[in-house]
């Protein structure tokens, strides 16, 4: 039988990564001074599972590495080894190392063990030399020696005396099955000794009263014989002797059990024996001539199975794990939908006007079912934010030791759920913000003490739902933003004018402007001033916002607001002629009616509207999409001013319609990608409306500008 093990690889990788996560979390919670043994046990179990799996699926590099790790953890678990901060560090490094190995294997890349040799050596060192490895080698050598020492002779056979303890059956071991195993090695003769058998009335059927003398008429290795009795070696007296076949036959026939002198006690030795071979050996003799059967065959198969290793490894498509509850609720809802459908179907069979009321009820129910179903399906994509939050304890630990700061991390609301895609993209901005809080926010312990604060700073991550959004707060009790310094810097960089009078809050938001960094010394932690603006841009591209509140000397709070999902968008419907478009609500600054004389024409057909301090370029949507608009005069249209990445643009539209949540359908999968359009949606009346992509629209505008300039020149 050949089974392709690669089909289990994906599951193995997933659970191994989960296991590493568990190890990491528990290692971080491991206080050397006082810890729960169960924590160490959990870590051990995770490593143990990874080891077992990797060995089974032939990832030897991982298996060997985890073996060392496991030995160390086992010592910790048994209390042979003290838990120390140094040890925890080493183990955390090992977790990283394994994660890297597994990632490579998952991507079908080779793993070079030499890379990990240093860490392996450190671990081995910790364990105390190569004790284990050398012991194993020694063991193997002993076996070989025994085999070699056996003299070469013709017609050698094995004599076995097997005296099981009486309760042997209670471990599920059955002597007859062992004889069957022996029969696979060669011809077997068995003589049972039933002297100990009590009469039926006294007999306890759960006990084994017999003992056996067995001849195996084949010159096999002793280990093969021993292997048959391996599981019961501690529950029986076993004598195994290699002698000439004639001698073995003689022993079997004789009443003398001298072969067992070293182990037999008086009682057994004095017992007389009867030959009952015919009865008890019956089932065995049936199967005796099977010598050349199963075993060698199986070995052949084994060979081919391992050489098949080049088989394609399961591809790692993006997958999602969904809790059973969610799937159950989905199935439940689909069930209700089917009931409603069949009810409506029945009504349709012989419909008359009297049933109108019931039809209406049915339709209301259908609507409700559909809505619930939609919500439920959306739920499937939702994962708890702990997926991201979980990486922070480790990060804070590493960072604070690097920055020589004392920081405590508090995580609140880690079960708050978030769309998987949003989750994947919010990770990096969050990491950046947390780093920033540690680097710029939390002060050094001396400074904190001098300011009358506890030496240990605190960073809190808080996630919660608010309306259709998820809000993530990063709160630190550090120095806060130095308003004067930010203002001075902003003026220096030309971000604001010297005379501009801004509220403190507005000044704080300036840190999100491109090219802004106030760190007195650029550290390797927060980078080189390419940060906050990128964070803001990334969050905006997810349809979210970020802002900061800060109190000097008290700390800062960064608040990120994100839509729960990227599959649904809060949109403003706009109309141009007969066409309806959707503008993402979050990008709209304001919508205004303008006058023709407020518009300045630049370079031919390119117009700009002066909105207070800003000059907003105007994009005539009817031109862009070549549709016929109701109005082409500015005084009759509405200007929808949108902003992305600090740049504003005004859309000229005929009418503002409703605001509503729209489901985004990909244009790329259904048609082709078009610059300036992020997708489409289907409106209530079945019409398709395009969703405008503001960034893309800006690009279009720039292109329009440059091509116009080209024309003018």
């Amino acid at each position: 039988m050949s089974i392709d093990l690669s089909q289990f690889h994906q599951v193995f990788f997933e659970e191994s990564f989960d296991g590493l996560e568990v190890m990491e979390q528990n290692l971080l919670g491991l206080d050397p001074k006082q810890y729960d043994p169960e924590v160490v046990n959990t870590i051990f179990r995770a490593a143990h599972s990874i080891k077992g799996g990797s060995a089974t699926f032939h990832f030897s590099s991982v298996a060997e590495f985890t073996h060392i790790l496991e030995t160390l953890l086992d010592q910790m678990r048994n209390g042979q080894r003290e838990v120390s901060a140094h040890l925890v560090d080493l183990l955390l490094q090992s977790v990283d190392c394994l994660r890297q190995m597994l990632t490579r294997l998952q991507d079908n890349q080779p793993v070079d063990r030499r890379e990990y040799a240093e860490l392996e050596a450190k671990l081995e060192n910790e364990i105390g030399g190569e004790q284990t490895a050398s012991a194993k080698v020694a063991e193997a050598n002993v076996d070989e020696n025994i085999d070699e020492n056996i003299e070469e002779q013709q017609d050698m056979a094995w004599f076995i005396e097997f005296i099981p303890e009486r309760q042997i059956l209670q471990t599920g071991n059955e002597p007859l099955r062992m004889f069957r195993e022996l029969a696979l090695l060669g011809e077997v003769l068995v003589v049972a000794n039933t002297d100990e058998l009590p009469n039926v009335a006294e007999m306890d059927e759960t006990l084994c009263y017999s003992s056996w003398r067995i001849a195996v008429l084949a010159d096999v290795e002793e280990s093969a014989i021993r292997e048959v009795f391996e599981w019961v070696s501690d529950e029986c007296e076993l004598v195994v002797k290699r002698e000439s076949e004639a001698k073995v036959r003689a022993r079997l026939a004789s009443h003398d059990s001298t072969a067992s002198q070293p182990t037999l006690d008086g009682q057994a030795a004095t017992s007389s024996e009867e030959e009952v071979a015919d009865e008890s050996a019956e089932p065995i003799e049936d199967s005796t001539p099977t010598q050349d059967l199963t075993l060698p065959n199986q070995k052949d198969v084994q060979g081919t199975a391992t050489s098949n290793k080049a088989a394609p490894v399961a591809t790692s498509g993006s997958s999602i794990r969904v809790s059973i509850d969610k799937v159950d609720s989905l199935i439940n809802l689909v069930g209700e939908l089917v009931i409603t459908q069949s009810m409506l179907g029945q009504m349709g069979e012989d419909f008359n006007i009297k049933k109108l009321e019931r039809l209406r009820e049915g339709l209301i129910q259908l609507e409700q079912n559909t809505r619930e179903l939609q919500e439920s399906v959306m739920q499937i994509r939702m994962l708890p934010i702990s997926f991201i939050f979980n990486r922070f304890p480790r990060m804070i630990r590493d960072l604070s030791s690097r920055l020589s700061k004392k920081v405590e991390l508090e995580i609140i609301g880690e079960t708050t759920e978030l769309d998987k895609t949003v989750m994947e993209q919010i990770g990096d901005p969050l990491v950046h913000l947390v780093r920033n809080s540690l680097d710029h926010g939390i002060e050094a312990p001396e400074v904190r003490r001098a300011n009358g604060k506890p030496e240990q700073g605190k960073v809190s991550l808080n996630a919660f739902h608010q309306g259709g959004n998820i809000v993530i707060e990063i709160i630190d009790d550090g120095a806060g933003i130095n308003t004067e310094k930010v203002q001075a810097k902003a003026i220096e960089r030309g971000l604001i004018s010297e005379t501009a009078e801004l509220a403190d809050e507005d000044i704080h938001q300036l840190i999100f402007e491109p090219g802004f960094s106030t760190a007195e010394q650029i550290s390797d932690v927060s980078g080189r001033g390419v940060g906050m603006d990128v964070v803001k841009k990334n969050i905006q591209s997810l349809g979210g916002t970020v802002e900061v509140r800060s109190e000097q000397g008290e700390g800062s709070t960064f608040t990120i607001r994100l839509p729960l999902t990227l599959a649904i968008l809060d949109g403003q419907l706009i109309r141009v002629g007969s066409q309806i478009y959707v503008v993402p609500l979050t990008s709209i600054v304001e919508s205004i009616q303008i006058k023709s004389n407020e518009v300045v024409s630049l370079a031919g057909n390119f117009d700009v509207y002066k909105l207070r301090e800003d000059h907003v370029p105007i994009l005539r949507l009817y031109e862009t999409f070549s549709v016929k608009a109701d109005f082409t005069d500015y005084s009759e249209t509405v200007l929808v001013v949108v902003e992305v990445g600090g740049k504003k643009i005004g859309f000229m539209v005929d009418e503002l319609l409703a605001q509503q949540q729209v489901v985004i359908k990909s244009l790329e999968t259904n048609f082709i990608a078009v610059e300036g359009i992020s997708g489409a949606t289907i409106l209530g009346d079945g019409k398709v409306a395009l969703i405008l992509d503001i960034t893309g629209m800006l690009k279009r505008l720039n292109y329009q500008k440059s091509s116009k300039k080209g024309l003018a020149a």
Partner: protein, 120 residues
């Protein structure tokens, strides 16, 4: 048909064991820990139980002890999945009443061979 109960907290191992044994023509149920295995064993009669040692909630050793106390599992072959480093675990398993063990790593053929060894 021979019914086997496979117990392991690692789902890849569990899947591999189940799949292998099913391919060999056995009827297989599985459980992620001792407690759930015990529940299954109470409502079904299995001919062989194969269990990992280290598991959360209830480990393999405790599972064996519990199974042996149930009337209809007195003589049922119970195999432990162990690793070679856990030599003392083998004995601990035996003392709890396990029939024998399968040493990890094992390949599908070894698994089927070992199961056949305890059947019949």
């Amino acid at each position: 048909m021979t019914k086997i109960l496979a117990v392991d907290d690692s789902s890849s191992m569990r899947q591999m064991v189940s799949f292998t044994l099913k391919s060999a023509g056995f009827d297989v149920d599985d459980a992620p820990d001792g407690q759930q295995a015990l529940k299954l064993a109470q409502s079904n009669q299995y001919d062989v139980v194969i269990s990992d040692v280290n598991m959360p909630v209830m480990d393999g050793i405790t599972l064996v002890k519990n199974l042996r106390q149930m009337g209809n599992y007195k003589f049922t072959p119970i195999l432990m999945l162990t690793t070679e480093s856990a030599g003392d675990k083998k004995m601990e398993g035996k003392q709890a009443g396990a029939t024998g063990w399968i040493v990890k790593p094992f390949n599908p053929d070894q698994l089927v061979a070992t199961v056949n060894k305890v059947l019949g």
